[in-house]
Symmetry: C2
Subunit: 202 residues, 2 copies
C-alpha cells in the first residue's frame, strides 16, 4: 500500500491487455509505448509516454481491465503507485480531480484525431506524420535534427498503421527524396517543411 520504483529493461512488458489495473504508473525515465494487439499479430501503437508522465490509470477509473498493453521502448524507470491511494485522495481533492479530468480530456481529443489520421491518410502521409510526432514528443539530439528515439522498423510500422515492409520501403523513399536521412535506426530530419506537407496531403 505504498509507492515503489522499479526499472524495466528494453522491450519489457509493463502491463498487458486484459490485466486488472491496480496501479497508477509514472514514467520517471525512459520511453514507453501503449499499444493494442490487432489482427494477425499486428500491433497498433496508440500512444507513447515520455518522462515525467502518468499512465496506466484510464482502465482503473473506468473500472475495466486494460484494453491496451504497455511496454518499454528502452530501459525505463517507473514509479508504481497503488490506485487505492489515488482513489482516496481524488475523493476529497478537487485539484487532483481536475488534473485527471484534464489529462483524460486531452488524451481523448488526441485519440479522435489519431483515428482519423490513421484511417484516412495514405501510407506516406501516415509515416511522415509519425516522424514529426516523434520529434514533437521525444525531441531531437544536440544536432537539432536527429530524432532522439531509435525505433525498429517494426515499431515505426506499428506506430503508422502499416506493414513492416511498407515502413522500410517508405522510409527509403523519404531518404531518396532527401526529406530525411537514415542510418540504421537513426532518423535525421532534413526537410521538415516537405515532411509536413507530405503528412498533410498524403
Amino acid at each position: 500500500m505504498h509507492m515503489v520504483v522499479r526499472t524495466f529493461e528494453k522491450n519489457e512488458i509493463i502491463y498487458s491487455e486484459g490485466d486488472e489495473p491496480k496501479n497508477l504508473l509514472c514514467l520517471i525515465k525512459g520511453k514507453v509505448k501503449i499499444y493494442k494487439e490487432g489482427v494477425g499479430g499486428r500491433n497498433q501503437i496508440v500512444r507513447v509516454v515520455r518522462p515525467v508522465e502518468y499512465f496506466g490509470y484510464r482502465a482503473a477509473f473506468s473500472e475495466e481491465n486494460y484494453v491496451t498493453g504497455a511496454a518499454a521502448f528502452e530501459a525505463s524507470t517507473i514509479a508504481i503507485i497503488p490506485m487505492r491511494l489515488i482513489y482516496s485522495i481524488v475523493d476529497r481533492n478537487a485539484h487532483l480531480c481536475n488534473f485527471f479530468i484534464r489529462k483524460l480530456a486531452k488524451a481523448l481529443g488526441k485519440s479522435d484525431e489519431r483515428t482519423v489520421n490513421l484511417t484516412q491518410k495514405h501510407i506516406r502521409g501516415r509515416l511522415a506524420e509519425s516522424i514529426l510526432f516523434l520529434k514533437e514528443n521525444y525531441g531531437v539530439e544536440e544536432d537539432g535534427c536527429t530524432l532522439s528515439i531509435y525505433l525498429s522498423r517494426e515499431d515505426m510500422a506499428n506506430l503508422s498503421n502499416m506493414t513492416t515492409s511498407n515502413a522500410i520501403r517508405t522510409l527509403s523513399l523519404f531518404a531518396q527524396e532527401k526529406m530525411i536521412a537514415i542510418d540504421g535506426r537513426k532518423i535525421k530530419i532534413i526537410n521538415e517543411e516537405a515532411l509536413r506537407k507530405t503528412s498533410e496531403i498524403g
Copy 2:
C-alpha cells in the same frame, strides 16, 4: 447563465470543428453523431450519442476548441448548460468530478478500440461491426431485429471508414448472404451470429 432546451432538425449541425466550447450538452431525445472531417470531404463518425447522454464537454475540460463536430441524425431535443455552471460545481463536488472522470475514461478506452478496429479490419469486418454497434447503441424496433436508426449509405460509410460505394456494395453482399435484409434505409438483422463472425475475422 442558465440552462436552455432547444430542438435541432434532422442533419442540423450542433457545433463544428474549431468552435469554442461554451456548453455542456445533454441529448434529451433523438440521435446525434460526433464526427471529424477528414481528407477530401470524407467524414469519420467517431462516436454517437443517445438519450440521455451528456456530450460536447471534452474540449471545454481540456481547454481546446472542438476537434470534432456534432450533428443530429434525426430531429433531436438538447439541453444546453453553460460550462461555467459546471466548473463551479465540479470544483466542490467530488461526486460530479468522478462522474466526468469515469465518462472520459470510458470514452478513451472505446476510442482506442475503435482506432484499431477501423484501421486493421477489412471492409466487411468494419461494416458488420458498425451494424452490431448500431444495434447495441440504439436498439431495435418491436420486431426485435430491425435497427431503430435509419442511416443514409453515406453515414454508414462514414461510420465504417469506407467510401459510399463500398458501403452500398457491401450492404448488398450482406443481404445476398442473408445476414441482413435491407429495405431502403431499414436494416434488419437476420443472422446475428454470422454478422458477429464477419466482424471478428474480417
